[in-house]
């Protein structure tokens, strides 16, 4: 097999295969993790009966959803009804093409493999663009259901997602200023070079940016406290009312996959990606030697950070009441966008100060 075929076809396919499988399993177990973590916070146990400590619960849930009757409403637009979950799920998956899981390439069977599928030099822009495509899926789901409540719910969700794209992008812009590049790998390397995660950058720590990005990501993924469009106790039941069976499962997979994507992006942009947690004074070298090889340690740190951010997602869901829709939109437009603009201005000033 020629070298270019291996490099451009076999290796990427293998990477995609591995990453998608790990992702799907991760999403299924994230559902279980959410139920357990929220349960522990509420002084109860989560799922316990299916498998030890409920570890087979996601398998049971998937089997149940697969075997459920697939109902399509009578006058629904069949093609759009079928496509909507797919259009929601696929962008979440393909966005993982630019996420680096570790720092250094490793060799497998004599072939060099990078721990990222591709390193676009406009990786950040690619991410923002692809994640915005999810809005199409939601609008299609609401429209094709041919029922007024899903339509209302989907329009609200779509409007919410679109309005929180702006604070998201603004906080990303300030990171771009610090890193000098839009490539995800370059951003982490810049944090390595400057010796500090961007969240604690000197002279202006990007904590405001982290907060803004995180809150905007929570709103983007329709999670509490911004989950009014899909909450069960509210009147309008949300865009996935008419869905059942595997299509419904797709919506949930898409939501949790977007959560994992957001957590991964937060850890790369603000928390140093695959860089070890050194608290600014622990040396890096002995740690990585202890944990054996840069690739493995890098991915260990990366996954820990992603898990930590996901824990905060779940923690927030367990704690706070939810915002009403108009309050949510007001928050996004009147508070977070000005805050984001101010943050960008302050970051620009800080960059100048640091340079000169």
């Amino acid at each position: 097999m020629s070298e270019s075929v291996v490099r451009y076809v076999v290796v990427p396919f293998a990477q995609i295969f591995v990453i998608l499988n790990v992702l799907m399993l991760g999403v299924a177990y994230l559902v279980l993790l959410e139920r357990k973590v929220i349960a522990f916070m509420q002084v109860r146990l989560g799922p316990r009966r299916v498998g030890p400590h409920g570890l087979l619960q996601p398998i049971a849930d998937i089997l149940k959803l697969l075997l459920k009757e697939d109902i399509t409403p009578a006058r629904a637009d069949r093609l759009l009804f079928l496509l909507a979950p797919v259009i929601l799920l696929v962008p979440a998956m393909i966005a993982f093409a630019v996420i680096p899981f570790s720092g250094e390439p490793f060799t497998v069977l004599g072939v060099e493999v990078t721990p990222w599928i591709t390193d676009l030099n406009v990786g950040v822009l690619y991410l923002l663009a692809i994640s915005s495509l999810g809005v199409y899926g939601i609008v299609m789901a609401g429209w094709s259901s041919n029922s007024k409540y899903p339509l209302l719910g989907s329009l609200r969700s779509a409007a919410q997602m679109v309005s929180y794209e702006v604070p998201l992008a603004l906080s990303v812009v300030s990171v771009l200023m610090l890193a000098g590049s839009a490539s995800m790998v370059e951003i982490v390397r810049a944090q390595a070079e400057q010796g500090v995660w961007f969240a604690f950058w000197w002279p202006y720590p990007q904590l405001v940016g982290l907060f803004l990005f995180f809150v905007a990501a929570v709103a983007e993924t329709n999670r509490a406290p911004f989950d009014l469009p899909e909450a069960e106790t509210e009147l309008v039941a949300g865009f996935h009312t008419e869905y059942s069976g595997m299509k419904f499962a797709f919506f949930f997979l898409a939501e949790y996959m977007n959560m994992i994507l957001a957590a991964a992006v937060v850890s790369i942009l603000f928390l140093g990606g695959w860089l070890p947690v050194t608290f600014g004074f622990l040396p890096r070298e002995p740690l990585s030697v202890f944990l054996g090889g840069a690739t493995l340690t890098g991915s260990f740190w990366f996954f820990s950070k992603v898990l930590a951010v996901l824990f905060v997602y779940l923690w927030i869901r367990a704690t706070f009441p939810r915002y009403r829709y108009d309050q949510l939109m007001r928050l996004g437009w009147k508070w977070f966008i000005p805050l984001g603009l101010l943050h960008v201005a302050l970051t620009a000033v800080a960059v100048l100060v640091r340079q000169g």
Partner: protein, 365 residues
Amino acid sequence: MFGPSEMEINLGPQHPSTHGVLRLKLKLDGERIVHTDPVIGYLHRGCEKLGEDRTYPQAMVYTDRMDYVAAFCENLVYVETVEKLLGVDVPARAQYMRVVLAELQRIASHLLWLATHALDIGAMSVFLYCFREREQILDLFEAFCGARLTLSAARIGGMYQEFPEGWAAEVHRFCDVFPSRLEEYHQLLTSNRIWLERTQGVGVIDGPTALDYGVTGPCLRGSGVDYDVRKAMPYAAYRELEFDVPLGRQGDTYDRYLVRMEEMRQSRRLALQALQRMPDGPIMAKVPKRIRPPKGEAYHVNEGPRGELGVYLISDGTETAYRCRFRSPCFTNLQALPEMARGHLVADIIALIGTLDVVLGCVDR
């Protein structure tokens, strides 16, 4: 009838937030509510009619099941009305026992209110924490009378059994832990900006309007009207006990929330006081075996957790009542819902049903 952009939607009887089977017909103008029409009767079981066919002691089990969250307060008002008809003097010890149980029941009812109200607005964990406390109170009731929800704990003429061994100590243990738990609820909700945005300014009703509608209980006190049956027409041992009645100022959901939280603290104080001051003595008055009150009528009111509970009995000299009428606070409080909901968004209706503390068993009887 309908304006150009008005529509009517149905918040159906089956809904996770309607605290029972309440149906609301909402007339909307765009997103704003123009009018609300509560449709009730889905839980009507004919308790008042059944009361005419059962003897006075037997009809007490129906009072448990009407306002099932505050069962003891319903029991108490019924039993006291029969005692009024009979002209019986309940011994002092039984009066104090009744106060302890009624205040514990009030705490349990307010905990359930807080749990469901917070859950409807989205704070899931408060629900579980409140139920953890409520479990302790229900255990106390189980230790006393054997049942957790449908107590039937009072008897005509007094109480039928003493507190078991160690019950008072258990109440003290609960009351020791309770303030820190209340503090936790305050930390989670009271200053929380999301909670403030969802509850401040929502469902405002002022004092005179509330009085016109016949609203009683914390909903009335949240609007600033100082009316508590325990102070205005004291029953059981309340005349001799000291407690404060919290009042709101603006009559919005947040004030009613604060009023009920403070009432929980005052109930704890009352329960401890009553336990401490309980005199010794008999717990049951001399009541005939078959209760046949003389011809006449009696009306007696009680302060339930939701408002003024009342029982009106007409006796025709036989063992069964001629007319047994229950005045339910939730029924009259629900009348104020259209007034409170006017001009608000649909998402606020859920908060409003929660703040009125509607229990459909009480509304429909």
